[in-house]
Every structure is written in C-alpha cells, then in structure tokens.
C-alpha cells in the first residue's frame, strides 16, 4: 500500500506537468467542464493537443463569449488565436498558434494547438476531408 502511494505521488507531478497552461487556466473555473486531448491524431504523422471548454450553462457561455470577443449568437465561429491570449486574433506566420473553434449551439470552445506548418496543413486537410465526407 505504501509503495502504491509513493508511486502515485511520483506520477502525479508528471501528469500535472503534461497539462497545458490553457487547460489549467480554465480547469480551475467552477462553471466550466474542461478536457485536454493530448496527441489528437490528424493523420498518420501529425498530432495536435486540443483543449475543449464546455460551459455548463448560458451564463457561463456568455462570460466566455465576452472574454474571447465572440460575436453573433448562432452557428460556429473560428479564428487563429495567440497561444497566451486566445482572444487576440493573429495571422499564420509559422509561429505556434491556437486554432479556436467556438460553437454557440454546443456552448463549446475547442483550442487546437498548432506548432508547425505541417500541423497547420494537416488540420486544414482534416477539416476539408471531413467536409467532403459529410456531403
């Protein structure tokens, strides 16, 4: 039993270290359900980390939309955001960015961390392929 506890104590910091700053930032908020999907597979060679934030109620969603400066009340909004300040819209320059997708109907935000051009292309291909398949 003692050994198991020691092992858990050793593994806990490793698990916490793997959580992104973005995940930690939202995970501490009571009104939000937050998940980090590490290594989300886009194709055979490219994976990205995704942080998903779901507002538990309308008030929580309204707060999020204000913080991230999301206009409109229907459909889906997406943009490239700064990795430290996701609300800040940026252009693709090759530096790491967040591809943010916000769905009003789901009250959900998804942040896809893009570090390289290969990941950026793979993310666009993934979207295009899925759009083709769904048609």
């Amino acid at each position: 039993m003692k050994k198991l506890l020691i092992l858990l104590m050793l593994l806990l910091p490793i698990a916490v270290m793997s959580q992104s700053a973005l995940y930690k930032q939202y995970a501490s908020r009571q009104e939000l359900t937050v998940a980090q999907v590490s290594g989300f597979k886009l194709n055979d060679s490219q994976r990205v980390d995704v942080v998903i934030v779901v507002a538990d109620d309308d008030a929580g969603w309204q707060k999020l939309t204000k913080e991230l400066n999301i206009k409109g009340e229907n459909g889906v909004v997406s943009w490239l955001g700064d990795t430290r300040k996701p609300a800040q819209r940026v252009k693709w320059t090759g530096a790491p960015v967040l591809r943010v997708v916000a769905s009003h109907t789901r009250r959900t935000l998804a942040f896809y961390r893009v570090n390289t051009e290969a990941q950026y292309d793979a993310l666009l291909d993934y979207q295009l392929n899925n759009m083709k398949q769904s048609k």
Binding site: A15, S18, Q19, Y23, A27, S28, L32, T33, V34, A35, Q36, V37, S38, G39, F40, K41, R47, V50, I52, V76, V101, S103, R106, T108, A110, Y112, L123, Y126, Q127, N130, M131, S134
Partner: protein
Amino acid sequence: MTENEFDKLWQRAEAESYSRQLAMEYPAWRQKQRRTFSVVAALLIVVTTTVVLFTTQLRQPRNYEKVYCNRVGTTDVQWANLAAEMLME
C-alpha cells in the same frame, strides 16, 4: 554364502548404487528443470503481452494519446470524438 543370500546382497547393492547416483544427480536435474520452467514462463508472458497489446490496438485504433478532464462523467473517447466533431461543424 548360499545362492539365495548372494542374490539378496546383489539386489541390495544394486539398489544402493542407484539411490546414490540419483542423490548425486538430483540437484543438477532440479536446477535444469527450474531454468527450463523460467524460460517457458518468460516466453509465455512476452507472447501473451504482445498479442494482447497488438490485438487491442488493432481492434481500437485510438485517435488520441491521453485525455485530462477536470470532471468525471465523460469518457476519453467521447472527448476525442468531440475534438473531431468541432472541426466538422
């Protein structure tokens, strides 16, 4: 010494010789048996683990490596599916 007595002595000597030989060879035989058993057990573990890992991966190819969540109630697969669905919206 009668022939009958000689036969009995001969049988006794033979039995003693066999048991001595057996006592001398037993440790080496036992060690060899243990070694064989260990090798077979190790091989079985490796083969079983490999088969289980590969068949699990083949049956359920995961599209994520690890999921963290601040609440319970939603499975890792559901979160990965949501990550995919958000790109299809």
